[in-house]
Symmetry: C2
Subunit: 124 residues, 2 copies
């Protein structure tokens, strides 16, 4: 069982940019920058090779046992690092994964790609 929340960062997609095969991808750069800041309490940061959100990269997901999973897209390390870190901490602090609207950053309000109920939960 995973105790901490997991912040997945897709390291594969080019986010619409022209990047050589061996060049650093935007999601990989974002993952490195997030690791440099450091994961907040209650959160593990993990790179993942593909979140299949290729037309909305770079993408991240937040997941934790018993909580709604959230996927966010169209992110980059220049604009969104602190909101991702703060949002991951806020997510980890919730009971159900739903950060109260007033506490959500503009990034999390505007960049949601999808959310998925916790398995077996009362998802209404």
């Amino acid at each position: 069982m995973t105790v901490n929340a997991t912040l997945y960062v897709c390291t594969t997609c080019r986010a619409g940019l022209e990047i050589p095969e061996d060049g650093e991808r935007p999601g990989e750069a974002m993952l490195n920058a997030l690791n440099d800041i450091g994961a907040p309490d209650g959160v593990d940061i993990k790179g993942v090779k593909c979140l299949s959100a290729c037309s909305n990269g770079a993408a991240i997901a937040l997941a934790q046992d018993g909580k709604w999973t959230y996927v966010y897209g169209n992110l980059n390390k220049e604009e969104h690092l602190q909101d991702i870190i703060d949002g991951a901490a806020a997510y980890a602090a919730t009971d159900d994964g739903i950060i109260p609207w007033r506490q959500r950053s503009a990034t999390f309000k505007k960049h949601t790609l999808s959310r998925i109920p916790a398995l077996g939960s009362n998802h209404d």
Copy 2:
């Protein structure tokens, strides 16, 4: 613990259509049509009020304990019902949630919004 795979169908979004407040939403119509066909073996169909994929509605998600979760969008009951049913059955039959590419319908190949690793899994 949830044994079957779950096919979530978002019943809320208008999928870009002009629909009166009390009118049937496209996702709701799709849910009803899927239930009329009936869930394949190993799959439960569940309506969910919002998958937060509003700009890519109608949306569905496939999830099961220990498997990748997949989210698909821009679906409708006129074109995609059978591919959704067949895809849910194929998903339920996998060990990890990844339907082999050659077995995937065009709908599942082209309409993926995102996928998320199973919690605690080796997601590479």
